[in-house]
Amino acid sequence: MRHRKNRSSSLELSRRDLLRLSTAGLVTSATLPWLESAADAAQQPAARRSCILLWMNGGPSQMDTFDLKPGHENGGSFQEIATSVPGIKISEHLPKVAAMAEHLAIIRSMSTKEGDHGRATHLLRNGYLPQPPVRYPTLGSLVAHELGDPLAELPNFVSIAPFRNFNPAAYGPGFLGSQYAPLIVGQDNNAGAEEGAPEDDLTVADLAPPEGVGSDTVGERIDMLAWLNNRFVSDHAAPPAVGYQTAYERAIKLMRSKAAKVFDLDEEPAEVREAYGRNRFGQGCLLARRLVERGVPFVEVTLGGVNSIGWDTHTGNFETVKDLSGTLDPAWATLMSELDARGLLESTTIVWMGEFGRTPKINQNTGRDHYPAAWTTVLGGGGIRGGQVVGRTSADGTTVEDRKISVPDLLATVCTALGIDPMKQNVSNVGRPIRIVDTDAVPIDEVLL
């Protein structure tokens, strides 16, 4: 699974991978029974690395989560509480996360320049500002490309309840191509989702055949399809034909696989589901744990996307942040403790971030506005030296006084923690090589194990 190293040209190699697959595909698609979840990767967790991105849509307030300024007029009404690490204090509304601070590196000195939701979302999630025509891949696609197993039953990148309206390209595979697109789970606001049983909608679209089409019929249809495709591909041996056949084989494998049971959260005990929180984000984190257990290298869960712009607290900041913290806290803490109990926390890097922070000064609507100059992200788990704070902001929270961290620095740190060389180049859609992370990135050494 970890055989893909240091590839100089992604497009060329992805083609080669496909050709290699096709040799197997041509032989097996119609004739052999599908392998059902045989390779239960959970048996050797240490060999594998995964990343879970907890995406805080709208830009979370650093001043009310991880970098409080009690006593200062900018501080607002929240109190600090002690964490499991002496000297580190965070918001009173994140008590369960506080108890796991030994796993977390809190970066209080993020400093960026982009204060527009769409552009900043692209910057944080893709590592670059948008610059058409280059189609930069999102982080999940980059990681799936590096760490994913092209033959895996489950997709290598799953995005749970994304809110893509700010910038759809920030959720796409860009020049890496559709094979690295996320499998989207749960309501997607971009497609006009409606309010519904929020914790029960974490399903894959179109995974099941339409009603009235029985499994015998499905079997017959797929046999005919495989027969047609084998004939066509054998005398049209070209990447689009082979790629098409491969995508179908993987989709059919997923439809028929026991591995698809990963999406059935009813398999979990009620108390576990309760512990994460009976809401979309909580259940999404539970699903993320299940996916990582089965070897999926990148899972992202969005908090604050559906039916609101979550953390974009221009008005009534404190009620909203308290509310969101109440959702975040049990989900995140339970995720980490469950991963830890399974021996998976040391191989699963957790990233907590949004597109920017919020103004230290409280506005006249008791809100906070967009603020990229000084804000916070948090890393934890695999490859990360927890129990520390990186950087410092001024007493009023407006400036970074120590250890300024840029977006490339942050993403290079995440890549390094995952065992990925952030300076690796991929060939882009405009024919130019583009590094996974921009060249001026310096990984945050003290955070890396």
Binding site: R164, G177, M224, L228, F232, S234, H236, A237
Partner: protein
């Protein structure tokens, strides 16, 4: 185009052109085919306004140009010992030409008619018929929309104005507007989208290309980079922040181009010598508008800045314009440009067939940038009419044009082809006050899931989600539903058809060909297993489903 009027009045158009040969040579790695040496225009053309036609370039008819291309490629094949693929059969040609020209597969009756037509020039006639269909304008509008909105195709702002852009482009392709005029119209269009009427409906809807500017966030540097890339094939965008690492473009060149566009968010820099000056961000450098070849605009004409730019761009002496267009159109039909990637006409990235590209560019310009002229010539070439069949991937060296590559369809092509094959009817909503009727609702959703318009169509790019959508999603499910599918009902319920004919019809509806003996035998056997009416129809639905999901259906080959 401002110069048209002056020409009609008999006066020669203002000459703002004529790049110094040295500057052009610097940019063009030695192939400087549009040298400054020019003479009077061929008066038989009523289209272009520049008085310059390239020296010693006899105008070729469509047939002559086709023959020229055939010779040039045949010479290259012979020189390199290239194995050339056999010709495509009629069904293969029909399907390919339909997808490339009108953006969808042919109907059953079109397939039957074409296959049974004995006329020796039926392929040429077909191209003529296709060019005259409304679907041609629609397909080329779709193609250019994807190009103009490039990486920002899903940008919410430009999405709102995409229908206006689509219509704006359709109106122009429908009349085969000369390409130089089309580009001038885009470059000179108002940056702001026109106010749509308060109670909009399709009739009062104002077409506009403003989505192009919105996709570029209405920022001068982004508009400039897109303009240079799309219309000139010049990737000067990298020079926005630093001198270009691979070629001669400097940051100063880039911002001198950007200075042709106004940017409401940036005022006139202090110290600027004129109202047109622009300062390079994070620097003290102030630049004036200068063309990419280093020549200065002629401010005496009192034309607007963008008008001067578009006159320079679309001039017949511009070294990039016709070449970029020809390269793109060749890529559209052959799956790959002479220059690849298609948007990168850089000296570090030389064309595979430089003389041929030059000749096509010269003829295109000489024929008044007539797109249909080029399309007729290209589709008649031997290269375009080669088969895509290949037993080994090793056969696919795309740059020789000795075999037609297999290409993925665009989202628009796939959607239109599914509609064509199945008779799927889009739900049309009534126009409501204050709400633009979204006639392309289903198409838009489908497009969103299948859009990857900037990835070369000859690359492998199908996602699991796309496969699931086609297998289990609403579109194909409805199309293969016994109650709802129009095509299926027509095939299943016609009392005079045998099972052989039913299978033949389903094949022609989806794969645009008749089945071979083995296929016919297998599927006739399948539908004949149980002849109770319900089961029989269900079996036909199963066959239809398999055909609609097949690689042969979903790919352009």
């Amino acid at each position: 185009m401002g110069c048209k009027a002056s020409r009609r009045g008999g006066a020669p158009a203002a000459r703002v052109l004529g790049p110094p040969a040295a500057a052009v040579a610097l940019l063009l790695a030695g192939t400087c085919w549009f040298a400054a040496d020019t003479h009077a225009a061929d008066n038989s053309l009523d289209v272009t306004c520049t008085p310059a036609a390239p020296a010693a370039a006899p105008l070729l008819s469509v047939e002559e140009l086709t023959a020229h291309i055939d010779h040039a490629l045949a010479d290259a094949w012979q020189r390199d010992g290239t194995t050339v693929a056999p010709p495509a059969d009629d069904a293969e040609f029909l399907r390919r030409a339909s997808l490339d020209i009108i953006g969808k597969i042919p109907s059953v009756s079109e397939v039957e008619q074409f296959l049974d037509d004995a006329a020796p020039d039926k392929r040429r006639q077909l191209v003529e018929t296709l060019l005259n269909r409304g679907a041609y304008a629609q397909h080329f509008a779709n193609t250019w929309r994807n190009l103009l909105l490039a990486g920002a195709a899903e940008n919410v702002q430009s999405q709102i104005n995409t229908p206006q852009l689509d219509m704006w482009l359709r109106l122009r392709f429908a009349v085969n507007m000369p390409y130089d005029r089309l580009v001038s119209d885009i470059v000179n269009a108002p940056i702001e989208a026109p106010q749509q009427p308060a109670t909009p409906n399709m009739r009062s809807f104002i077409p506009s290309p403003a989505a192009f500017f919105q996709a570029n966030e209405q920022k001068r540097e982004m508009i400039a980079a897109s303009t240079a890339r799309i219309f000139l094939g010049v990737q000067v965008g990298c020079a926005q922040c630093h001198d270009h690492p691979f070629s001669d473009w400097t940051q100063r060149d880039f911002w001198s181009l950007a200075a042709f566009f106004d940017d409401p968010s940036n005022g006139i820099p202090p110290g600027g010598s004129s109202a047109n000056a622009v300062s390079i961000p994070d620097s003290d450098i102030v630049v004036e508008p200068v063309f990419l070849d280093g020549t200065q605009p002629d401010w005496q004409t009192e034309s607007a800045k963008r008008e001067l730019l578009s006159q320079w761009m679309t001039s017949r002496t511009n070294p990039f314009f016709a070449r970029a267009a020809v390269n793109r159109l060749w890529d559209h039909f052959l799956g790959r440009g002479f220059v690849h990637p298609v948007d990168d006409l850089d000296k570090a990235n030389p064309p595979s067939h430089p003389e041929l590209l030059d000749e096509l560019a010269r003829q295109f310009a000489g024929h008044g940038f007539d797109l249909n002229y080029l399309i007729r010539a290209i589709t008649a070439t031997r290269a375009y009419q080669l088969t895509s069949r290949a037993s080994s991937v090793e056969d696919s060296d795309l740059s020789t044009f000795a075999r037609m590559p297999v290409r993925r369809m665009t989202a628009d092509q796939l959607f239109a082809s599914i509609v064509q094959a199945t008779g799927y009817r889009q739900q049309r909503r009534r126009a409501q006050p204050g709400v633009l009727p979204d006639l392309a609702d289903a198409a838009a959703a489908f497009r969103a899931r299948f859009s990857d318009s900037t990835v070369p169509r000859t690359e492998a790019e199908t996602s699991i989600l796309q496969a699931l959508t086609l297998m289990n999603g609403e579109l194909v499910s409805t199309a293969t539903d016994l109650e709802e599918s129009e095509t299926l009902a027509a095939v299943a319920d016609a009392p005079f058809l045998s099972d052989e004919e039913r299978i033949d019809s389903l094949f022609m509806a989806t794969l645009s060909r008749r089945p071979d003996a083995e296929e016919r035998a297998r599927f006739v056997e399948y539908v004949g297993r149980d002849d109770s009416p319900g089961e029989h129809k269900q079996a036909l639905a199963d066959v239809f489903w398999a055909l609609l999901n097949s690689a042969e259906f979903a790919l352009n080959h």
